[in-house]
Symmetry: C2
Subunit: 314 residues, 2 copies
Amino acid sequence: MPAADRFSGVFAPVITPFHEDLSPDPERLIAHCRWLLSQDVGLAVFGTNSEANSLSVPERIELLDRLVEGGIDPLKMMPGTGCSALSDSVTLTRHAVRNGCGGVLMLPPFYYKGVSDEGLFRSFAEIIERVGSADLRIYLYHIPPVSQVGISVGLVERLTRAYPDIVAGIKDSSGDWNNTLALIERGGADFRVFSGSESFLLRNLGAGGAGCISATANVNPAAIRRLYESWRTPGARELQREVSELRDCLQMPLMIPALKAVVATFLDDPEWETVRPPLTPLGRDQKDLLLKKLAEQNFAMPALGTASPSRPSA
Amino acid sequence: MPAADRFSGVFAPVITPFHEDLSPDPERLIAHCRWLLSQDVGLAVFGTNSEANSLSVPERIELLDRLVEGGIDPLKMMPGTGCSALSDSVTLTRHAVRNGCGGVLMLPPFYYKGVSDEGLFRSFAEIIERVGSADLRIYLYHIPPVSQVGISVGLVERLTRAYPDIVAGIKDSSGDWNNTLALIERGGADFRVFSGSESFLLRNLGAGGAGCISATANVNPAAIRRLYESWRTPGARELQREVSELRDCLQMPLMIPALKAVVATFLDDPEWETVRPPLTPLGRDQKDLLLKKLAEQNFAMPALGTASPSRPSA
């Protein structure tokens, strides 16, 4: 795969619907993925905001199989495959490659804290060697506020030197723009740097970055995508202000219940609010306040659901 | 199981041996467990210091099956079964109960940070309800320096009220003696509070605690057990000083490579030094320094290996 085939653009870490019994719901997931693709947004399934770390390996494998069987283009998918256990990361990464996924988003092993860059290098190297496929494209996942184990710029340099065709980019969810800038400057010409929030999208693209992978793309994909496409135009600053303002409405310490509440409301489908413990759904007051703030922004989710044959538009 | 059958004493979070190809080594694990039992120390297999979070669910299931088949008494075992994913915790806990384990040591789900006590309660409750066995005994595992998600005293009170026969105790690896004391005072008469380090053992027992579950019990079980048995005697303070001093020699930000280096040295079995990434083995200098410090303490591992039929004593 030439570097031109590496990912760029806007990706949603796709929220994962659950049935009331907390089992994953492939049908609703397929419908949501279809809608996101219709909004020109790529699919970072099994990310942090997908509650992927509350899913077992067999559950993730089953869901990815169902997505591909359901007609979701694997080349538009960047499933999360980095686990705490080396063997799990190998299993999931191999499975993603076999399914023809355009890339994978890989957390470092995140249970043991205070590990060295040498240990993290060995972890990624073991996964790459064990999967052993020239088709593998890894997007590293740097999210220290959650994983508590980060991926330093120095580690990125070492990995891209050792595996220049495999280690294709990074998602930087540090919230630290200087770190993103250092990754863009030192990652190499073909290294794709995604911001973890659309709040940085204009700056990211201006500095030579590749786009963003952002939780809010689950509910506001069209506007974020519009900013991505028109970032060189005079109206870009205004678009950036708008998407950032909308993000501020949704911002909470844990954004997942809010995103699910929004989708449930706009689809009139309460089951979408279900989250797996340790998460809890929004309380009634929190939800009312959120919807009020969104209404003040004239927020809508145009055509939500229409991209799914099983979910005709109202 | 009456409260009298709840665990007390000294437990080792048993270090997990790997082959050079990083696959788990059930034979060496069985031998080490046999030796620990011969020292009157219980088996908290699959704890933090077991690198359990670097093992997949199938790897843990296979190892536990091999231990039981190898004649290791499941009633002496407290396997770690708490995972990031709810479904994994259910699978492992159910498997431990089916194998007749005397209890399980359960981490809270540790990927998502800033979760509420309500969310953690729901997580433990789901596991308990889904496993659905009166034989289940849960020892909660509070280790905020590593998991970053803790188990508050309030959550303990709520869990013991809801499941008084199931939620049997806690391992407190906070390093905060006041927290341990609060757990002993507020957990209830039958609630077993283990310190996460033998440095607190005398204080733990004096305050009504149940013992300790400590990494160093992998290499220094006899002395720690001696302190446990004689804590009311005049010599207890001196024994406490000795085990604490030995622990200080082994103390490192990540103790696992040190423990493995010690076992490898005393068994003259270099393969024992293998760790899974993201951990790295001790460097030569670190190892030399460690062994020098241990020699100054006249440290020995008496009869190490002799409890295993496959490992005759020298």
